[in-house]
């Protein structure tokens, strides 16, 4: 029974990490849009290239934030959560 419980914990953590990374879609679309518009702007005004590029990188980095939140959650779910949860289970049930 205990093995089954631990298995469910590990599986659910892995699934949760996968589901959390769905958030990667949003920044992907957003940054793609930003870069497309920046390319258009450079095509229209090649002399503004430097400024457009720095502003675009800045915007991309800010748009990336939600994706990075998901990444942090996924990393916690993979590396930290299983150990913690199994410990809690052992303390309450294992003895």
């Amino acid at each position: 029974m205990l093995e089954l419980a631990i298995g469910i914990i590990l599986g659910a953590c892995a699934l949760g990490a996968g589901v959390a990374m769905i958030a990667g879609i949003g920044p992907g679309i957003g940054e793609g849009n930003a870069v497309a518009k920046a390319c258009e702007a450079i095509g229209r005004q090649p002399e503004c290239r430097g400024q457009v590029t720095t502003t675009m990188l800045m915007g991309c980095a800010v748009a990336e934030t939600t994706g990075l939140y998901a990444l942090v959650i996924a990393i916690l779910l993979i590396f930290v959560a299983p150990g913690r949860l199994v410990n809690i289970l052992m303390e309450n049930v294992g003895k």
Binding site: L57, T65, L68
Partner: protein, 307 residues
Amino acid sequence: MTNDKDITTDTKPEAVKPSAGFKAVDALLILMMILPTAAGIALKVLFTPQSQGIEIKGALIYFTLNTPVQPLPIGESQVNSWLVMLTVTALALFLTHGIRAGVPTKRQYAAEWIVEKCEGLIGENMGAYFKGFAPFIGAMLILSALSSLMSLTGLFPPTSDLNTVAGWAILVFILITYYKMKCGPVVYLKSFGEPVKFLAPLNIISEFATPVSMAFRHYGNILSGTVISVLVAAGLGGLSESLFGSFGQTFPILRVGIPAVLSIYFDLFSGLLQAYIFAMLTMLYVSGAFPAEEFFRRHPEGIRNAE
């Protein structure tokens, strides 16, 4: 600085032969720049336990200080950030060593270029009132950049530890709050009621979200690079074993060179970009937090000082 240059244009700079002592101090400073990295590698080699294969793990803990409150572990990220500080100090001393008005040397031009770039960045993004921020932003840029670039030497980059970056983010949060308080606590509290009173809880949350998002952005970018590089290296090792393992070859040949391509993006580009973005966001948040109109209405002499 510009005055010094003007003088040298009419009078030819006299060639000064560096004395032996000068050269010795130079060599010492260059050594001081390189030695911290070497010391870090040596420490890491001494403390890394024997392990099989590739694994992702946090920073090593070198020793634990026993403080009255709770044991304080001194890990790789602390030691490596001290090493970066030593390197930056040595670099600054080296660039300003033997600096003299009227006789510019190559390294003096380099130092002036760095200072002028920092001041230009501040003037462009923060305005004249924040002139004094140039050293702070410059220090933050080079500290963050060198910390992230440390992963090129195989050391643990301090910026892939949340604690390091969270410390910087808390510092920025304190600065933001300090500049919001410039017109007294009443104006500060009123600013939460903007634009409508009942949005105050949301404003308070977004106040705390600023340092959190700054810390997570920097940390997540550097850490994700490490994780992906390790996964690719492990995958390439497995692939080369399944491809060439039947020929009796145990050396993971595919692992040579290919992960280095990823390192260009994750270590060089991403590390430098995150340093720039962290400094840029610091400038934007701090100058955005300052209630300029209200402050200059109350302190008209401040405008003259700023200009």
